[in-house]
Symmetry: D4
Subunit: 200 residues, 8 copies
């Protein structure tokens, strides 16, 4: 995996070349459109997901082994949180997970969430992405018995302080079974979900 | 009303004497047991509520006019939030409101809250008291159409930072119709609910 | 209502189309001029208020029922706070309130405020918008008996920390009857004022 | 589970009685010695662990099913972090996990940690408890492929700001596969580890 | 002047002995009752003001020259702010100023303040002491043309953050002619007022 | 005085027109070059100081009465602090003060400052402008007996946190006789110095 | 070395026994008087320095090699900073350094510091201990060419925020050649000074 | 040395001219490419290092005395930290040190660091540059006996808070022998390393 933010296009390309030699599949996150164009020129097989800002470079031979018996469910509170949720989705899929999405089910309309109780109950790991007050993981954590990974996002304004409010909410979650990753760290959540699934 | 914290017992007594001359009913909040004893010695009619840490001094003649047609519902997330919730209850009752309680319905067990949907829907003003992640007002705010007053409490540990986490959560509440008062300010919430009821 | 900030123009348009089917009136806040142009192309009846950065889409048939007997007064400290105040005004008007404005009455010239004592006294709900030190709600709250909704703004520099100073001031307000919404949240204040008026 | 901090002894006892009726095993955390004495009087079978400040009440019939094939390894940086580590140990054991301890292996003496590479590699889930700079999870996360749960502690002084420094360190962990819980939340880490093990 | 807080009684006594040799008048601030007793034993002429927590040791010969033509007015918002206000009063008086008090005129009851417009207008320097939201200096600063020294106090709870809220309010004061000293620094304000008076 | 930041050019022009009618001299601060051009078109007599970012509009008849017997000394630590220092200079001069400058005398080269001991000793009021660690007012305050007004600037990087470090330094100044204004508030310091001089 | 704070007396004793076997000299810091008594009972040769709160246990045979040609100078701003300064002194001496003290030379009386210019100039490493605004290292750093280690202390009140203000000041020090350790970390400064001296 | 950030190109040029007259070698840091071009036009001998953003102007006659017997080792955690590391390298080299680099050895891959144990052990001073969680200095500090200078960088996102997380980590470092400079202050670290080397 390569975290593109804060690196020059040249640095990214040379890291990708090194990794490409060693691994059948390489994932780059936080890739701007400019970076994506340069990478796709160098690696025509690279797939760019502009919403998730991810690049996946895969050998044609690399048949991804999907863990079909286990489901990672990515839940997301609002429209503006989708880029982070998609980063989690792409990461988990690239690592061979079967992923489902449940988007736009913020706590202010709790019945939209409760309408999907069965889907929540059948998931093996749940990633919950939310900005602003970040209350969704607390509710989801109280509804299920599987591991819940909470991802605060920098979505919000004023007293959200670029995701700090959502981060604190999630760290203080009164439902047990909820852990937290860094603000906007969809990759980290997707990766962690994958290693739980692989353990199973 | 008198806020006792930070004042000496003598200061409190002399303020109470002044107010007693002018008003039929006087409310003192944040009264320690020591203060309560001194006040009850001076004003034998003073009622002390040790959970709410409130003192109410009322003229025998002062028949409290209760606004029976309107209900202030005080909702509280956890056992440790009860003192702040009770301060809100006593304040609203002292100001003539009809008050109902709905305690221990934190978001980690959302169905306990949803079981009381009818009670929530019939309230005219709702006060929601919560510490730790403070997510309850977001859920309540999404379920009702009446004004919701959110009270963060200093209940919690670690990254709750003495109520800061709950405060930020409530300020960033994505449900409209939710306003916030200071950390542990049950009095402020009860007072505000009362003036809404009086307007009706 | 749609909060435009952080959403793409396409996302906003598709949300507006969905909401338009269900509601006679739709309000969009934090709409940039670019968003406004795109929305007005799709919905020619949309009215854009550039100061408030709001878009209102209303069915010709939708005669707004105005609650004429009740007045929401929007008070604002300085010139730079006007955009947030206007967001509150547009929100409350769209929800059927009779709204009055009292602008540029900051606490440093207290007599400008006191000259409007009658207008303050006759309001049913007051929204007070202020940046920098955010002291205006404390003074207004001490002058009236109706509910006061305080809106801190991000106006200021240095130790205002993008509205944090005003927010803390308002949360610590020593006048009872004052509640607070998020920094720059004119919409939240206007919405809350409307549901109080509707309760009356 | 019962979180004792912030509750009165009476509240704790009445909650325990309720839970005891429904569950074969009950765990209480953050129990002071005073609380422990009162609980042991009411429930003579209660086991108190003074280092972890936990109380476990177990039915004689309740044969704990231990997941022997999976190991939860609790790693701890310094002597002062042991109480939090022990809270994690007791929680995971109470929930039926096989738990191992690896204590006093802070990053300032990296070879003490590396001497246990085999133990680290064979664990199924690792809980890493650290205060002060909280760097241990980053190193452990880089050495293993299993899920790592990082627990910042309030151990430290000065710029540790009661665990904030360790918390931020862990959230910014550059090793993937590391998630974080609240400061001093040994219980949360133990619980989360258990549900991963149960999934396996 | 000696700042007693954080020093042992012995250190204070030895510093006072040194200063006493060189100066006709010595002022010690933040003196606890225990320190006061020890100092009065050593210096029987020491006057202790328990509200201000100050000790003044003066030579019988030291006739304090009072600047009678100039008035330092110490204004204070609430009862709990009085100790800090008194520290300012004692400091300015010890340095030879004519001092007047105007206490308990917080902004929530603005008319109590305005009733003393003449006294405010005739002052040469005004010290304004306020905790909680700390809004009083903004109002006073708008009413007068003389220098205003604002003293935030640690009075308050919750989001007052031990005086931080009041401090930020005062630093962002939109009235010109207002400067700020440290939280609870009544001494600093009294001293600064004195050197302005001496310049005149 | 007009604070231009956060206002549109049109708002600034209309405020200036109003003020121009009432006052012989008008000062506008934080004026960008774009604002300056627009103002100078409307008021050809307006003088723009690009370093201080100030505009002064003065009636030809308005002979500024200069208080020649008193000197305001503006001291500044580094080159990057000069814009704030100049804002103080222009403000004090516009208000009729005799102003002297002592620039580039930061504490890291204490002898440059001490070389000007006589100039420091002869000043009636001193304004000290400093960013980064903001230590200069502490040293100056210890060298003189006149009032010292400290102005923290947002100059610095990293842990200067946009002037917060300098602000805290100045508030904790152990030299008595030092007061503080908001970060980058050269105007406030110049204004305050002027009213002290006018009192004299 | 053993850091006693946060450890039980038994833990400290067992760590000391282990270390005593391996090392001729052992240093324990942050030792309360209670801890000291217990340690001196177990190790009668232990020397307790109550001001520094340190315990030194030394083999009679352990002739401390003093690096006589190099001087570590410990400079301290105020009386209340002495305990931290002494911790640095004891640490450096225990590690074999020749240490000199220069106490009570805060920046508010810069000439007291300058009177010792020769002593400053002849030092090989300087440790500067200061609380409140923490400005002393900036001045010292500008006077000398040797390494300066700055130690912020938690001495102060209000906006010193338990040493945060001094810490930020020192991190933003504009004099080159100054580095910083944690708040109150006299040990760290003494240790670092020693390894510089040993390198020489 | 000249710190270019926050200064105009003209100010930089005039400072460089002054310094050039007095010193054989001048170093300018934080020089943008635009500044670099202007300086190289005025001083054709100026060498610009775009990664380090440094300019070095050296007299042809100025034979740099290199302290060959002592090595300053600059260690850096990730690719994005290189600019700060290079600033340290250029500074130390300009001051006559022999410098070695050890880049891209972050704690998440501890064996890359341990593979260079010999290089670490043979260094005389080590500068460790790291962003995100900033854990590298703790590990390095535990491996070596020489002075370690930790430089936090602003590299990271979310809860890294522009380098605050790394800064706190390094200040709380449990390995002795580690000191800290400001965020991104490669110059300060390089300078401090040089004066240690010169002392030797």
């Amino acid at each position: 995996m390569v975290f593109c933010q804060g690196k020059t296009t040249e640095q990214i390309l040379s890291i990708l070349r090194l990794m490409r030699e060693r691994h059948a599949t390489v994932l780059a996150t936080r890739a701007s459109e400019e970076v994506a164009r340069a990478v796709q020129e160098a690696f025509p097989e690279a797939e760019y997901n502009p919403r998730a800002r991810t690049l996946v470079i895969r050998s044609p031979a690399a048949a991804t082994v999907v863990h079909k018996d286990h489901t990672v469910l990515v839940v997301c509170a609002g429209t503006a949180d989708i880029p982070v949720a998609e980063e989690a989705v792409v990461t988990a899929e690239t690592m061979g997970c079967h992923v489902e999405r449940l988007y736009d089910v913020g706590v202010a309309g709790i019945h939209r969430l409760l309408d999907h109780s069965a889907q929540l109950a059948s998931a093996d790991v749940i990633i919950v992405v939310a900005g602003m007050e970040g209350a969704l993981p607390s509710v989801v954590g109280g509804l299920v018995h599987c591991p819940v990974i909470a991802v605060p996002t920098s979505v919000g304004y004023g007293a959200s302080f670029q995701g700090l409010a959502a981060l604190l909410t999630m760290l203080n979650c009164c439902a047990p079974g909820v852990v937290v990753v860094n603000i906007d760290n969809g990759f980290g959540a997707g990766y962690f979900a994958s290693i739980i699934v692989k353990k199973s």
